[in-house]
Symmetry: C3
Subunit: 218 residues, 3 copies
């Protein structure tokens, strides 16, 4: 379905852009954690490709795309080189990086949902895997860097909700048979804009009801 809906080369280019910006965030975290150049490369690869790799293992698409497309493998290394030499400059344009990261989030939740559905999963499972595609790389990045995944922390701006909304729109479009390049782009754009708004206005998810402060804040 992905192949019919979209021009393959357009889709591939978008994919590479998404991988690139995710990889940038991985490499930047590696610099902050004081890792060496291989640490940068590993976190860049894991952040860029981890979500899709998890999805492909679950749906049985082996070998996963991360290992069959040379461009997917090389793109994070490009991000590594960039951050290695220019990390102060990249840090300075963190706002721009965040915008691209939001674009990657929107793109991956849509692509992930469609690919999972192509492999015969139910709509709910497909949307879940769309979410996992979008956020999985970041979770693996944080686990490897020995931090609580920022996805799960209450003091970070909403990240999962935009991806959930995007994946849900795609699932609904499939359900009502109106999935087109236009509606797919709409879903990705909604996720993208929601993430931008969440960063702009510091939208946060609630913690558990009546959360008492008897536990040390971390």
């Amino acid at each position: 379905m992905l192949q019919q809906l979209f021009n393959p080369s357009v889709l591939h280019t978008l994919d590479l852009i998404g991988i690139f910006v995710f990889a940038i965030s991985g490499a930047l975290l590696a610099v902050r954690k004081n890792l060496d150049v291989f640490g940068l490369a590993v976190l860049a690869e894991v952040t860029g490709l981890g979500g899709g790799l998890f999805r492909d293992l679950v749906i049985g698409a082996v070998p996963p795309a991360a290992f069959t497309d040379l461009g997917y493998f090389l793109t994070p290394l490009l991000a590594t080189a960039l951050v290695f030499f220019l990390h102060p400059q990249v840090e300075r344009i963190q706002a721009a990086v965040n915008v691209f990261d939001a674009a990657g989030l929107g793109l991956f939740c849509v692509v992930g949902t469609i690919k999972a559905y192509d492999y015969g999963l139910s709509l709910t499972a497909s949307a879940t895997l769309g979410l996992a595609t979008a956020v999985g790389g970041g979770v693996l990045r944080d686990v490897l860097a020995n931090e609580v995944p920022s996805l799960l922390r209450w003091d970070r701006d909403l990240y999962a909700v935009p991806a959930i909304v995007g994946a849900t729109i795609v699932a609904l479009c499939i359900r009502y048979d109106v999935l087109t390049p236009f509606t797919s782009s709409f879903a990705a754009t909604v996720a993208f804009v929601l993430r931008l708004l969440a960063m702009r206005y510091h939208w946060r998810a609630p913690r558990a009801w009546n959360r008492r402060s008897t536990v040390r804040e971390e």
Copy 2:
């Protein structure tokens, strides 16, 4: 074999109960770690479904049951909602939660072993995957919460041993061709009771021989 041995709807109900109590433990840890509501949901899903997901990926049962059965996916969300609104009450009945968790442990080590054997693995590998099914979700929960898995810590009551015993009994029953609903229930019950006793009497596993206290206790 699972289908022949057990009434499918009984087995499914037991599965959902096991997933539910595991998910409760995941959501409670998320509350203690001060995560937001998505953190609760992610840890609930991972704890409830992670062990079975790992087993299914290893035996090649893709897509894994966690992604093909809507009930499996929704049950942890129910646990999340419960903990989100009522976590002080749930904490207060921690003892009851622990009993259910022990029941889940007994059930999952038996079901995991049988399912792995159904997919053609050897008896030793099947018992190992039964153990992994029972304890895998908890290990993933602790890794995501950035803690040393409580399974591995010497200052926690025995958790792996009951599951190992249960899985081994099942493997022996298969070996001697006496696996029936009765012997399977027996194996699950033994694991369940052993875990209850381990909690009641604080049974612990030994640390390495002659463990000297030159290392900082953590």
Copy 3:
């Protein structure tokens, strides 16, 4: 190809030796982290088998070799027993353990690359999976022990580079159709010797360019 190139029983013995020394390093870390005997066994299994398990899941070789070969499963338990009773002595011969670990690194990067290529992956992907086979177990070990993987840390001697060089030599040999037992052994030896030299002369990978010390060193 692996079967044609090498005497199966020789290869299997080498495999078991590699798993054994990796498992020793996992069990020793568990002792240092003060884990109980199950913690030792889990870290030993994960360190010895984790890299190959990841490779097999990615290339679709399910059930993975780790679950089909009883020797693979039992070898880490042997390492666990040894470390459990004799860890002060094993610590004292840490230098010897490191030499064996280097041998395991050389062996696994070669075997991993060839096995991935056998399953139809491209040369780049095969070399990457060779690297993952060699270092994956150690990364999983450190994640479970709640530490930043030593592979990624700038203050550790080079570990990835020898494996990358070994895997690359194998990939080049396949490319130019000169893969023989001799060239394979050569690749493994190069990786082995490079790792020994890295430990001897404390070779380290660079951190990001112009790394300023404004971030807390960890």
